[in-house]
Amino acid sequence: MKISEAFLNKPLLIVYICAGDPTPEATPDLVRRLVAAGADIVELGLPHSDPIADGPTIQAAAQRAIAAGMNTDVYFDVAAQADVDVPKIFMGYYNMVYARGPDKFAEDCAKSGICGMIVPDLPPEEAGPLHDACKRHGVDLIFLAAPNTPDSRLSMIEKETSGFLYLVARTGVTGAKSDVLQSTGDLIARVSSDVPRAVGFGISTPEQAAEVIRAGADAAIVGSVCVDLIARGEVERLEELVREMKDAIVKAKGKAPIVC
């Protein structure tokens, strides 16, 4: 399924996990279980040795996955094995893409059923080669905007992104937080085009997920809290959380915001 098709049924729950954590073998089944529990899109992180946009939870997951044998070849095998009916998205750092070559990377994404790429350390200004490669292979290249992105730049990013716009809910790095900030709502409201808006960074509870949907987001992205539950081996609790989150955002649809 293409990302644009998934967004016909808003609001969406997007779930991030780190591929290869705890082992590469475990990943395809985890993806299936997340989708069965209600994930509308799965982001599969490719672990990197130096994840500068990530907090301790995802850093630790990346280290475990690398130690368990995860690399880019294994990543694409695992992604292909995770045969689900919802879009799968790559998330990873640009050096991993650069090392394989942007064209081959985008081609391997397409071949293994990955329909979008999020590269957090690649702003549009540097994305030329990957942008072209993604076009050639029919892969969406998804850009991020942050609370401190000025309006003029935001409209540039809105034009450049494809699939959806990833709105970073807070400055700083990934990691579970317990609140939703005023600036998140402001950022959602500042988007002026009709590109789908997905909000991530810090969302860890059904209440927060509902909150960003009420504030006008089309999707909520959850990551660190899921990675943390996987680290503790609490996969059933994770499935339950995904169900609760999905439930909460569906109920929140069309409701007025409480805080934002």
Binding site: N95, R100, P123, P150
Partner: protein, 397 residues
Amino acid sequence: MKCDTANAAAVKFGKYGGLFVPETLVQPIMELAQAYERLRSNDDFRDELAGLLKNFAGRETPLYHARNLSRELGCKIYLKREDLVHGGAHKLNNTLGQALVAKRMGKTRLIAETGAGQHGVATAIVGANLGFETQVYMGEVDIERQKMNVYRMELMGAEVIPVRSGSRTLKDAINEAMRDWAASFEHTHYLLGTAAGAHPYPSMVRDFQSVIGIEARGQILEVEGRLPDSIVACVGGGSNAMGIFAPFLEDKVRLLAVEAGGRGPGKTDKTADNGASLGYGTDGILHGALTKILQDPYGQILESYSVAAGLDYPGVGPELAYLAETGRVQPKMADDKTAILGFRALSKLEGIIPALESAHAVGYALSEPDALGEMAIINISGRGDKDLATVMDYENL
């Protein structure tokens, strides 16, 4: 401060350099770039920096004719004495410059990474002197091998934050500082210590360190009436090398950049036995720039190695990567053993104990005197007091 970043195009050096950072950092970096661009030609700013360099840092530093070393090498050797800069290394040239930029941007807190501890010390110095809250990220491994510098930083009021992620050395300290900055940029300046990283750091740090080369050029012309045949500098990220090279780029002067050869060219899945990114590295992205890096075939960054903590870095500044590619700068290597030899030789011959980093430049000169021509300048980027325990350990192994 407002600035227009609808398009945040970065300065590049050929294909190298750029701005490969998370979106949250784009705005702070462009604000820094624009503030620096404005200030670099501002008389008031330049006067204030010049005053501090003279009266606080102790510039200008001597260009010293090392007679005994010259005799040993059969080549006239001058030493650029950055070891005499306050704090014991060239690092203060850059921290003074950036701290003044930060001050004028209204920032109240400085964060920095440090490997050897020299840049951390230089940041602590400006933090104390110019009134910033200062926090320095330092890998646990480096904290262990540079205890004195940790204590020096603390004495001057800086907080040293141990970094436990990744290889727990310099590269991880930079990662941690970037993560901090992504949340703290409103009031915090990230004071990067070398001519690497995202735009505008490579240009800005080079400019602040160029005082080394500008002085050396004037000094050598005054005493010799001509330029040297070669200039030798060690390379970690490249700040002392770019600082002394930059004013000579248009001249017929051989520029020799000596990287850490460490234990040799060997590597494993996760580690390299050296810090020679120009010598053994390949193109890749690290800390915001496309440059030469030590990495595995998939793009995972390798842990580097050198007996000198300040050269123990798996990347290098993008401008040096470019100048090496064009052939203007010649990348060279000195391994641990050669560096220790240089350390002992300069101590014994001249009564100058160099930093282990600078000892790589000395060691290289000792091992390849023919590459120097008839007259050379070696940049003594720092003094070696901080390294005595390391050298004693090394000799006992």
